[in-house]
């Protein structure tokens, strides 16, 4: 039995890596992957607690997160495809339409 502390620390590390990726990286695909990493870090936390507490609720949540992540991947990748067609780049510094 892996102690819950270890699982949580691993989850936190993965999450932090994800956050750092979102903030630092310029490529939209990498940012997108970093977001997926954050989601899965949270999933790991859920699973860990579910096992620890012998409850199925955490597992249930993981399924929800997976479904949402899959939907997000569909929409997000489609948007990125369109952006690339229009701007020939996925560098976030150049995609700066959201301003005054």
């Amino acid at each position: 039995m892996i102690p819950i502390d270890h699982i949580m620390i691993l989850s936190a590390i993965l999450f932090a890596i994800g956050v750092a990726g979102v903030i630092i990286r310029r490529n939209a695909i990498i940012v997108f992957l970093s977001i997926e990493l954050m989601l899965n870090a949270v999933n790991l936390g859920f699973i860990g607690f579910a096992t620890h507490m012998h409850s199925m609720v955490g597992v249930l949540f993981v399924f929800f997160v997976l479904v949402v992540a899959a939907a997000e991947a569909v929409v997000g990748l489609a948007i990125m495809l369109e952006i690339f067609r229009n701007k020939e780049t996925l560098n976030l510094d150049e995609i700066n339409l959201l301003k005054w």
Binding site: L92, I95, N96, K99
Partner: protein, 637 residues
Amino acid sequence: MTETLWLIPALPLLGFLLNGLAGRWLGKTFVSLVGPGMVGVSFILSLMVFQEMLSAPGMSITQHLYPWIEAGSFKVPVDFTVDRLSGLFLLIVTGVGFVIHVFAVGYMAHEEGFARFFAYLNLFVFFMLVLVLGSSLLLLFVGWEGVGLCSYLLIGYYYTKDSAASAAKKAFVFNRVGDFGFIAASLILFSVFGTLEMATINRMAPETLALGGGLATAITLLLFLGATGKSAQIPLYVWLPDAMEGPTPVSALIHAATMVTAGLYLLARMSHLFVLAPFTMSVVAVIGLMTALVAATIAVAQYDIKRVLAYSTVSQLGYMFLAMGVGAFGAGIFHVMTHAFFKALLFLGSGSVINALHHEQDMRKMGSLLKKMPITGYTFIIGALAISGFPLLSGFYSKDEVLWNAYSSSAGSTLYWVVGALTAVLTAFYMFRAVGMTFFGKSNVAHPEKVKESPLVMTIPLMVLAALAVAGGWVGIPASQGELFGIPHVLEHYFDGFFAVIPVSGHHSHGTELLLMLAVTTLGLLAMWGGYTLFSKHRERAAALREKFLPLHKVLAGKYFIDELYDRVVTRPVHWVSERVLWKIVDVKIIDGTVNGTALATRQLGGLLRKTQNGIIENYAVGMVLGCVAILAYLVF
């Protein structure tokens, strides 16, 4: 018949809708059938209702139509009541109204907006009937405002004329001043009595309010303020002479026979309230007396035939208020009735003259018209005789009744009689001055060969009204004369126990009554003769007299400069305050400043905040992460 009472006002309303909505396309024949026709049918129905009312228990019939307002204890049903007072008004409004409508068909034949005219006229009759029939003060007020609206619309009928448009506004504004009094009085009445039903208020008033108490005085004074606005009394009378800008049938119907008597109707209706406030009663009498005298003196020096009649109307209304002020409500209503006949006749006669002379209203450009227009001329003279109090004509009886009551009532006095008699003499003088200038003497008409008598549609109404002006007073032959021939005083018994009564002190003999009447009549006859000769055969003497009293003439011709006084004291200060303070400071600086300032502040704050929106998504992400960390930190520690 009780179930069909609502038809009486509904028919003119239907006429208004037909003429107003479809009249333009359906042609003049249609309009001239519907306009007078609806009022005519209303008149027939009114006669039937009147007949039924006389035999009904309590001489009053009520039709309950529907509850209008019900909020807690505040209930206003739409009830129409015909009793002895409203029944009489019903007949005057529909009867005289019908005759004037018929006349208007001829008078307005060549005017623009024929259908619009009859639509407004029918609407007026509708509101007047609501005013008369309504059993609660609020319903009366609906009619009261409605006739004010129609008066405004019809005075401003020639709306492209600047003077007509401003006269209409003037009438409207002056009436609003009076309405303030009416509304305030209604509010107090509701808070005291818990109802606006006039019958209930009259019944409860003697027990609820103290005789001569401050509350009764306040309520009645406010009601009287409303009456002075609608019935053109000092200080609010100046709108009526200007209202002559409207077509002549309008002057006859609204500004002589019906609407301007609404104030008197209100007083008579609330008589049980008014007798509780002796102070108000004397105010009513004194104001009426002053108005009668002032307006009569102004009328002496006017040259516009319609203005003479307008001031004459103001003066006669003052007479009626004098009668009410001394507690003789019946006499006042009697004079309302006879005045409706002869003043409508005089106005229509002047309309016939004006029409024949192609809208010439200046009497100096008339003269010797009797031969050209015999029917108009003779009927006009009958009207003038009636208003001047020529024996046996209607005005003779009603005027005498008013004067006698002013003298003999416990609230009256000899002074009232003297001033009243002086007014009567002046009335005779200026009326026959008008007759002399218009129908006799040398002709000053621009194109005398073109003048011809008006068509039958105009002369028949004149003859009908002339007959009424002669015979209309016979219902009120006073006992002092009637006893000799065994003629009862019909009107006095008609109103038996209807109005509140002021206890009469002392006994006045029929001899005194006859003597006073003889004095006034003799003086009146002399004044008639004087006015006639001076302004027909001996106009140079009139001119010499005018030169002799030039300053006085100027004051009278200038109407005592009351309009100028109001202009200086009210209009200009209000205008100044409106422009300099309310517009330039309150509106521009304070109100606009607040609104614009709020917008400006929001915009500048937004300008600062939008600097953070730089479009670099990472910055937003960092902000979000930092925010999350901050919230977490707060929750954890």
